[in-house]
Structure formats: C-alpha cells, structure tokens
C-alpha cells in the first residue's frame, strides 16, 4: 500500500506518495526526483545518501520514509542561496576535493550539519572533522582535501556560514 508523506524539504512544504516500507532515500530520489542523495550501498555503510533531518546528519537509506512525517529535511539542493554556493560547497570546489563527485552531496551535508552544531568553530580540530566525516566513504580517496576544505570553511575563508534556513541551523 502507499501513503502520502508530508514534510518540509529544503524549507518548502512537500508531499510525496510512498510505499509503507520505502526509505527516505527512495522518497527523495524516486518520489520527488531529488537525486542529489546517492544510493551507494542502501545499507547504511557509505554515507552517499546523507541528508539533514531536524538539524542532524542522517543516512537516508536507513530511515523509513514515513518516520519523517512533519520533519524538516535538507538536501544539498537547498543550500545555495540566490545563485551563491554555501561556503562548504565553495570550499569543496576551490580545494578540488571532489573527484568523481559521487560521495560529494553526502559529504557536503555531513559537513554542514557538523559545522552548524559545532560550539566554537575557531577551535575546531582536524580530528573532529575526520570524525564528523567518518561515515562518508570516498572511493576516489579524496579524504584529505575534504577535511582541509571543511577546516577552511570553518575558518571563514569562503565567507560567513549562513545562519538562515539554508544552513540547516534552524531546521
């Protein structure tokens, strides 16, 4: 049987028809054609499907879609504002972190959730960044640049981190 899931997607109300055992990843990709979260493993292992739900990074393939009823979900599609990339996106671009790019949307969301929750960005350490991204596998092996780019974004090298909706901070 299918049901209608109502939630907030990237700050806008969304409705989608889902099967009762569908994952949030399927609802986004197949129901709503938001294909930025990738289905790398469908098993919770790779992190390519990472999105932000009520402010927390989660692996959307492990989430049954209907549990997201009424929640605030953000994908990488909602981060750019007025044609301007989010500082994390800019940092990844400038550092040349993505290679094939398959893991990138998940990396961006994990990094954004981490920076939004971090109490003092000026004292952030590389270990903390690595820990925050540890659930996101990169088959191209670009871990170092991803971590460096997140530190640069935290430092403010790519502009202030937005506090508004798009940051995921108020979600």
């Amino acid at each position: 049987m299918s049901r209608i899931l109502k939630f907030n997607l990237n700050g806008n109300p969304a409705e989608v028809k889902v099967g009762e055992a569908d994952t949030l990843l399927e609802a986004l990709r197949e129901g709503l054609a938001f294909t930025s979260p990738k289905c790398g493993c469908n098993h919770g292992d790779c992190g390519a499907c990472t999105v932000i739900v009520n402010g927390d990074a989660v692996k959307s393939c492990t989430v049954i879609a209907l549990t997201a009823e009424g929640k605030n979900v953000w994908t990488v599609d909602g981060l750019a504002k007025g044609g301007k990339l989010h500082p994390v996106q800019k940092a990844f671009h400038e550092y040349g972190a993505p290679q094939c790019g398959y893991c990138t949307p998940g990396m961006v969301m994990a990094a954004v959730a981490f920076l939004n929750r971090h109490p003092s960005l000026s004292s952030l350490t590389e270990e903390e960044v690595k820990d925050a991204l540890s659930g996101n596998l990169c088959r191209c092996g670009g871990y170092k640049k991803y971590a460096q780019a997140v530190i640069a974004a935290a430092r403010g090298d790519f502009g202030p981190l937005p506090e508004q909706e798009g940051s995921g901070k108020n979600v």
């Binding site: 049987m1 049901r3 099967g19 009762e20 055992a21 994952t23 469908n42 098993h43 919770g44 292992d45 992190g47 990472t50 927390d56 990074a57 989660v58 692996k59 393939c61 492990t62 989430v63 049954i64 209907l66 549990t67 009823e69 994990a110 959730a113 981490f114 820990d131 925050a132 540890s134 659930g135 996101n136």
Partner: protein, 291 residues
C-alpha cells in the same frame, strides 16, 4: 512482492492491539539502522515463497526517550539515540563504560538515529553497548499487553539475534547501576570509525588500597552472545591490581569464549587478541578508579 504496512502508534494499548493481529508478521522499528537495510534487501529479492504482510510498528511516538537519574541507578529509555546519550552528562559521569562504548559506536550520522534499545534487541554478539551495560549491572524492562517484567541483561540473550523477549514484547528501558567502582570499555575494530567490533570488552573494578574487591569483566564478538569471564574475575578478586595480575587473569578469557571465523576476523585472531582487549579494559577501569 510482500506487502508492508507502517504504523506509528501513540499509545501502548494501540501498539499491542496492532502487534497481536493474526495473519501478519509484526516488527518493531526504532532508529532503523539495523532493520531498514534488512527490509530493503528483502524488497529487492524475488520471494521464494509467499510471506504474510509485514507490519512495521514505529516506536518513536511512545515517548520512550528520556534518561532518569535515581542516584544509585540510571534508567535509560529504549528509544534514546546513541547521540543523545553520548551528550548526556549523567551517562558520562555515572556510567563511564557506557559513555566510552558510545564514543566507539558507528559514526555521527548513524548515532543520530540508532537507539540503545535497538542495539540491545538486535542481539548481535558484537553490539558495543552490551558488554558495558553487562559489567555495570543492568536490568531490562519489557512490556507487553499483560504488563511489565524485568529481566537481568545477563539472562537476556539466548543466541545471535535472539533474546528472551516474547513476540510482541517491547523493551521500554534499561536500568543501569552506577556503582562505586571504575569502569571502562575497549574495542578492536578493522578500522577506527564506523566499524563493528572484531572483539570488544568492558570491565568494572572496585578497589581498596590497590586490592581488587569486586570485578566484572565481559567480552563481546567472541561467542554466540556477549559473555562474562568468570575465571578472569576470580583470578583478580583479593589481588593487588597491577600489570602482571591483569595479564595473568586476562589470559583466562580463553575459557569463556568460543570465537568463529567471519568477514571481520578469523576465530584464531579473535582468540589471540581477546586477552589483550580484556586487559586494556581492566587496566583502564582500575585507572579510572584511582584517578
């Protein structure tokens, strides 16, 4: 394909009514980090025989997500996420072995949804919260239509994936003793993060003038369930705690375990490293008491 139903009952009455229906198989859903991939895998397969509809009963609307500090013991709601417990000041101060286990579990994005109740009910021999809870002394509260009962965690697991909980019984909370001793958890995985244990161990130690007065040691991922190491414990009680006594006692874990080969490690390797992981947990627990 099999049919699936989803419900998010807001009362236990409704939950047990839904769980007891005939002609369907019911499954409780907490964070879904273990269950959802299993359902997805099943949905991707061509079924060999017809299965009854699967009724997914989401437990997140029942309000089982609080931590209550009652002084001597701490009661943790089954639906508390691993992230919320990792940040919890009571858990950190009173249940150090559990706190340490949480730091070693999965990564942030899994911890944000995975629950402590799911980790226990999944009944994996590699579940990291279990050795910590076991050495601290934990009772599980199960609830069914006919009321509540308490079962000691030590008697909770029967085989991999199986517990004493009857079909339709929900784990509502665990009650963990704070104790006056020190405790610690150590894990050996294939890599540092987001990995299941090759072997894990926890210890709880009470000392007086450097002499061990009471000790509990548990090792995981080395037998069909997490096990207590009785011989190791006996070898320590009444002894001065030091490198030599810990090493000698830890070598006795062999008697408690029956490791197997799996994708993470061989039985031989598990047998070789278990004493080391156990020794690390005991020294750290003893150290914590001193410091």
């Amino acid at each position: 394909m099999r049919e699936y139903e989803y419900h998010a009952p807001e009362s236990f009455g409704r939950l047990f009514e839904l769980a007891s229906a005939d002609g369907v198989e019911s499954r409780f859903l907490a964070g879904g980090t273990d269950l959802t991939p299993r359902i997805s895998a099943e949905r991707n397969q061509i079924p060999r025989y017809k299965k009854p509809p699967l009724r997914i009963l989401y437990l997140g609307a029942l309000g089982l997500d609080s931590v209550t500090d009652a002084g001597e013991d701490v009661t943790i709601g089954a639906l508390c996420t691993l992230s919320s417990l990792l940040e919890n000041a009571v858990v950190k101060a009173k249940l150090p072995a559990l706190h340490e286990a949480l730091t070693e579990m999965a990564g942030v994005s899994i911890r944000n949804t995975a629950t402590i109740g799911g980790n226990i009910m999944n009944a994996s021999p590699a579940a990291d919260s279990v050795p910590a809870l076991l050495v601290l002394g934990t009772e599980c509260t199960l609830r069914s239509a006919s009321g509540e009962r308490r079962v000691a965690l030590a008697e909770f697991f029967t085989e991999p994936g199986k517990t004493v909980a009857k079909p339709g019984e929900v784990l509502v909370s665990v009650t963990v003793k704070a104790g006056r001793g020190g405790s610690s958890f150590k894990k050996l995985g294939r890599r540092k993060a987001e990995t299941l244990s090759v072997v894990n161990a926890a210890a709880y130690v009470e000392l007086r003038d450097g002499v061990c007065e009471a000790v509990r040691v548990a090792v995981g991922s080395a037998a069909p369930t997490v096990v207590r190491c009785a011989d190791t414990e006996r070898a320590l009680v009444g002894r001065k705690i030091g490198e030599d006594s810990i090493r000698a006692a830890s070598s006795l874990v062999e008697k408690a375990i029956s490791p197997i080969d799996d994708i993470r490690a061989s039985a031989w390797y598990r047998g070789r490293v278990a004493p080391t992981v156990v020794a690390r947990a005991i020294s750290a627990a003893a150290e914590r008491k001193r410091g």
